[in-house]
Amino acid sequence: MTDLLANLALGFGTALSLQNLWLCFVGCMVGTLIGVLPGVGPIATIAMLLPITFGLPPTGALIMLAGIYYGAQYGGSTTAILVNIPGEATSVVTVLDGHQMAKQGRAGVALGVAAIGSFIAGCVATLFIAAIGRPLSSIAQLFGPAEYFSLMVMGLIFAVVLARGSVLKAICMILLGLLLATVGTDLVTGQERLTLGLQDLSDGVDFASMAMGIFGFAEIIKNLENPETRDVVHGVIGRLLPSKKDMQDSAWPIARGTVIGAILGILPGNGAVLGPFASYTVEKKLAKDSSRFGRGAIEGVAGPESANNAGAQTAFIPLLTLGIPPNAVMALMVGAMTIHGIVPGPQVMTKNPELFWGMVASMWVGNLMLLIINLPLVGMWVKLLKVPYRMMFPAISIFCCIGIYSINNSTSDVLFTAFFAVVGYALLKFGFEPAPMLLGFVLGKLMEEKLRQAMILSRGSFMTFVERPLSAALLVVSAIMLVIAILPAMRQKRDQVFTE
């Protein structure tokens, strides 16, 4: 305990120096901005800003780059809520209820609760890292390919629960998502699959261009159908900040979302993407009236937003304690650290304590800054909704196209987005929900990879999934969840039979 206090004192000593405070602020500010701009993600931005950090001291540079990453998680909710565009996999869930809240004139409340939830989650997750980061990192080591595959199976069950309407349609969409995930280069043989001979598809469909097409652009086309009701928000814009009742409703979802997101964030191979989905599923199942979900339930924003921010913070654990990056952004952070002469490894914590604890402390400082930056902005964002739609939609479209282009500097990504816009519009018209498809897509890639690795390691025996205790436990939980998910539907049918 005294160790922890001494370490935190060292950390805050580092983080609160004038230069580091300034860099943290710059990072958070830039992060918020790129989070708000659809498409421009933390990866493109950090890569772009790497040369600028050459002249900075390593700790300061990393504090700034980390700020961009978790700042983007804050900002990402803004576009999801206001214009129905999820910039990243982690904000897909926020779209579901957040945008509905915006349509009901509760955009300010949604943005406010997202910011407050993110703040609480960020602070708790930072404490997590400081207190038990080291032992927690061993969780990552428990997860081999078999365990990971079983976790993904559990994730697919979430996808079923996500669906609002027909379960059959939801399953179709999940399968379509899984199928889309198989586009690209085969992991084992290196052969190209379903790429139609297009080199731009050799690494698969890009998530951002798909998500933006299917949600954002499809929504724009739909809005343009009806000249009268084109404005995003009909009628009055309600209060800007959450009321006492809103906060009471959100308190438990924020707490649960934080824990779920923090644990999943530690897992290797982008486990953090599951966090918001898991949180949403839990909230929907725990709610007294689950039909409110998808129609503007505040819990559906509070939980997932907390989960994604907690995950963004704890994703630093494997990087800072083991030197192993759990996702693409963290891999880029490895590069940034290497450029500054600190190659992350198992000894970073003992060899560079001021870097480790300085970063941990700066995350706390950064979260506070983000809250201060974001709450006043809520009013401004909400005012944006009053801009007439005929001026709004060209601006949104242009920003989206620039954003998509910037991900891989590729014009074909923009064309893919246009294609998915048409697909998304068709899905809307036929009453299919895109969210399960996106989850299927995200999980599909990981699932195939882990399934094949596990099968290669077991030399083709499926028993590996039940022989390994953790994997077996995850599969049992999935089975129980599936039963819980299906039972109410069955009971309802029975009720219907009885009433007839």
């Binding site: 590069g335 190659v343 000894q347």
Partner: protein, 319 residues
């Protein structure tokens, strides 16, 4: 042959508008790095381009175009106008192993104009701490005695860790089960926890884990020990002298780029490699820098031809 070649060069030079080459560079130069930002090739590119920009008086902008083992980015760079404003950082994979791995490759590595070798990072053979063999000799004995039990990780078809291990397996005559990962990070994670037994990769990706004692180094595939890891024996010392592989990174320009321009770029690269700050940064990565005679354009041209032939042989044998 050489004379003829230089005569051709002189003639070609006479035809190219000299004014353009003299004022080069008049605007920022784009260097396409065919891998994600933050990887070893990207870091080398950023270190040398920073100093090169100072010599050229124009910024070199790094553009990361990742995909298909680096061939997506090189294909795009090779198709760019040959005016010197688009150059590329190629490496052992894209300009050595790629022709053997990708039958439909849309560029010819030996035809692209060589600018110069930037830096190379040696390959290390490493094993999990939970894996029984402790030395390279024990590893070879174990691998030959237990061919069915052996699991080798690699970071995807076409990655450095894949092709270098294929060469190792070929030389040892072993056939381990290859487990593909989507990058070095996840592969390392599973090797530390003992899911997979061994892999080969660049020193920069492994050095900290070896120092931290989470994985075991068997040997480094370079002629001399690395100052970054003085305790790791060379493959020569460990009894596998033929296994010499190094992940080299070198700058190329599209076919048809004027010789004056590539000479200017080569000069800027040499100045960067002579700069103390840049040298230290590269050496800290565990990189090996080219000697003066290895810094010429002609050396790189011949080297690429030799590498393509060598990888063709090694990878064809594995099929």
């Amino acid at each position: 042959m050489k004379k003829l070649f230089s005569a051709a060069l002189v003639m070609a030079a006479a035809f190219v508008a000299p004014a353009m080459a003299q004022t080069y560079p008049a605007k920022p130069v784009t260097m396409i790095v065919p891998f994600a930002a933050g990887g070893p090739t990207d870091i080398v590119a950023r270190f040398v381009s920073e100093h090169m920009s100072r010599t050229l008086g124009q910024q070199i902008v790094i553009e990361n175009v990742a995909g298909a083992g680096g061939t997506t980015g090189i294909t795009r760079a090779a198709g760019a106008p040959a005016d010197g404003y688009t150059i590329m950082m190629g490496h052992m994979g894209t300009h050595g192993a790629a022709p053997a791995l990708y039958p439909g490759l849309k560029y010819d590595p030996t035809a692209l104009i060589p600018v110069g070798i930037a830096a190379s990072t040696p390959i290390i053979i490493v094993g999990s701490m939970k894996f029984q063999p402790k030395t390279l000799q024990e590893f070879v004995t174990f691998a030959k005695a237990n061919p069915d039990k052996l699991n080798q990780a690699h970071a995807g078809i076409g990655s450095v860790s894949h092709s270098t291990c294929v060469m190792l397996n070929g030389q040892l005559g072993i056939k381990p089960t290859a487990v593909p990962y989507t990058g070095t990070g996840p592969a390392l994670n599973d090797m530390i926890s003992g899911q997979v037994d061994f892999m080969c990769d660049q020193i920069v990706n492994l050095a900290e884990q070896i120092r931290g004692g989470t994985i075991r180094a068997y040997a480094i595939a370079s002629p001399e020990r690395s100052p970054a890891l003085p305790d790791v024996p060379t493959t020569k010392e460990a009894g596998l002298p033929d296994y010499q592989v190094i992940a080299w990174n070198a700058i190329f320009a599209p076919v048809g780029t004027a010789p004056e321009i590539t000479a200017k770029l080569n000069d800027a690269l040499r100045k960067a490699l002579a700069d103390e700050g840049t040298r230290t940064r590269l050496l800290n990565l565990g990189a090996v820098l080219p000697t003066a005679s290895e810094q010429t354009q002609a050396f790189l041209g011949d080297f690429v031809k030799a590498e393509v032939a060598r990888w063709n042989k090694a990878l064809a044998a594995a099929k």
